[in-house]
């Protein structure tokens, strides 16, 4: 009993002793409501209302909306270069990937031929961002499983990548639309390749370490937990690592190639089991693939211009040609899409942002939590690598 009280305290910050019982039931009933989130360091600004019977979850209902900022509407009032700055904020943990999705949508509408060097820089940054995002995931996953060392290690190593972002984009977390329509906003500084290679070496050391932790801290908490079958995954709209962990070999970078991904050599790791452990393994292996991609890009990056046109245009001079596009990208969490409709004005007429977590956090999470044990909730929750920012928008 005391164990449960501690969990409650930690997770909701609310008084666990009876106040939470919304419907006082008969004396011998053990059913009660339980709030997971919305104010917890790991859950993000997002809550799940669980209905519990003793320690078993009967049903779960996602409670989004704590981070709704109305980006789709905001973007209708701004020009592409200003929207690029906004697109950072679509997800705190991987702003550069979202920059890329947005920039591609605008590029496809304007039909601008992006310079070769810019394409390489874009992929370089997107992969660094993916790596960084996976490292955060490792951190919060360890935190959720009560393994604090992993959390601290992960966030320490992530900062080495943030140093690179700071060097190249001028900001640690938010690159301020570094990847913008037509290319990237500034060229790479001197000595970037050595710095990146140094950091990659450090990250490799980190990955060796976490592999040795896996058996002790991860495997026994995650094996066989939260099994997502392939047909369920497809029906519920899971994408990215979650879908790959259920046995589907699919990756937007391979199936629907964008930028220079079709020229690069990398694997798409998949697992069969579909449980939380499989999702962890897929991400671990994806980090290795990302490092592989970054190395290839660093070797091949050509000289040349980084943006076309090289100067930023005034908003009153910008025009997006009429048309509509739907671009898909693979970001760390899954499939990220932007539908953009333009009527030939300086701002897009309608932007629809489709984040991977919109489906991972509501249908998939509700499906997986149903019937599990309370102690497994964090393992399932964090194994999906979810973040409310791109769901609420």
């Amino acid at each position: 009993m005391s164990g449960r009280n501690i969990m409650t305290d930690q997770m909701s910050g609310k008084n666990p002793t009876g106040n939470e019982q919304i419907e006082p039931a008969t004396d011998d009933s053990t059913e009660y409501d339980f709030y997971f989130g919305p104010a917890h360091s790991g859950s993000g600004n997002f809550g799940v209302k669980l209905k519990l019977d003793g320690e078993r979850v009967i049903s779960a209902r996602a409670d989004p909306g704590y981070l709704h900022r109305g980006f789709e509407k905001l973007m209708e009032y701004r020009t592409p270069i200003q929207n690029a700055v906004i697109s950072d904020r679509l997800c705190v943990l991987e702003p550069l990937n979202w920059n890329l999705v947005h920039a591609e949508a605008v590029d496809e509408l304007t039909g601008i031929e992006v310079p070769e060097r810019a394409r390489y820089i874009r992929v370089l940054m997107a992969e660094l961002s993916r790596l960084q995002s996976h490292i955060i995931w490792y951190g919060v996953m360890s935190l959720g499983l009560g393994f604090d060392t992993g959390f601290r290690l992960a966030f320490g190593y992530r900062d080495y990548i943030l140093d690179i972002f700071e060097l190249i984009t001028g900001g640690r977390c938010y690159p301020a639309g570094y990847i913008c329509d037509g290319g990237v906003r500034r060229d790479l500084p001197e000595g970037y390749a050595e710095r990146i290679k140094n950091v990659l070496d450090k990250i490799k050391g980190f990955m060796e370490n976490i592999k040795s932790f896996d058996n002790l801290f991860f495997a026994n908490r995650t094996k066989g937990i939260g099994v997502l079958k392939l047909e369920d995954a497809i029906r519920l709209g899971a994408t990215g690592p979650v879908l790959r962990a259920s046995g589907m070999k699919t990756d937007v970078r391979k199936d629907d190639p964008y930028e220079i991904y079709s020229e690069l050599d990398f694997d798409v790791p998949t697992e069969k089991q579909g449980d939380a452990n499989a999702r962890c393994t897929v991400r671990d292996r994806e980090m290795e693939e990302s490092i592989k991609i970054i190395k290839q890009v660093l070797d091949r990056i050509p000289e040349g211009k980084t943006r076309k046109p090289s100067r930023i245009k005034r908003p009153s001079r910008t025009k997006i040609p009429e048309g509509e596009v739907y671009v898909r990208n693979e970001i760390a969490r899954g499939e990220a899409c932007i539908y953009m409709r333009s009527v030939g004005e300086s701002a897009p007429y309608r932007v629809k942002v489709r984040g991977p977590d919109f489906l991972h956090m509501i249908p998939v999470l509700e499906h997986l939590l149903k019937g599990c044990e309370l102690a497994d909730v964090p393992a399932i929750y964090w194994s999906l690598n979810i973040c409310p920012a791109d769901m609420d928008r």
């Binding site: 906004i86 140093d163 700071e166 301020a176 639309g177 500084p189 932790f213 100067r311």
Partner: protein
């Protein structure tokens, strides 16, 4: 076996250098490209207003200078409200005259919010 390795990693961690640094005494180096507080060079400004137009947060307003300067500086000049600014550096990129520059100054925390409004002529408030 993996237990031994894990313990080894953890023990190793006890003796390696910490990843953090003691902040006020030392700090990590800030790269040149950093987007910090703005620096404005009024003598080169052409008063074109492009910076005010592109600012996504409308943090820049073109204002007239106080009386004593209007002799020399007749036009309007950007006043930056750092409370609204998101440090995107679009104003720096669009400025043709290169008079708006982002510096490496990151120490902007202050108990007095009004001090975060950067007038084009910084001395103005002090002289009154």
């Amino acid at each position: 076996m993996s237990m031994v390795k894990t313990l080894w990693v953890l023990v190793e961690g006890l003796f390696s250098k910490p990843m953090t640094i003691k902040f006020p005494h030392e700090a990590i180096e800030i790269p040149d490209a950093y987007r910090g507080e703005h620096k404005f060079d009024i003598d080169r400004c052409a008063s074109c207003g492009f910076c005010a137009e592109i600012c996504p947060n409308k943090a820049i307003e073109m204002v007239k200078l106080p009386e004593q300067y209007t002799q020399k500086y007749k036009k309007t000049y950007p006043r930056i409200d750092l409370r609204k600014c998101c440090f995107c550096a679009l104003c720096q990129d669009i400025c043709v005259k290169k008079c708006l520059k982002m510096t490496k100054n990151v120490f902007l925390a202050t108990p007095d919010p009004a001090s975060l409004i950067k007038d084009p002529m910084p001395k103005v408030q002090g002289e009154e």
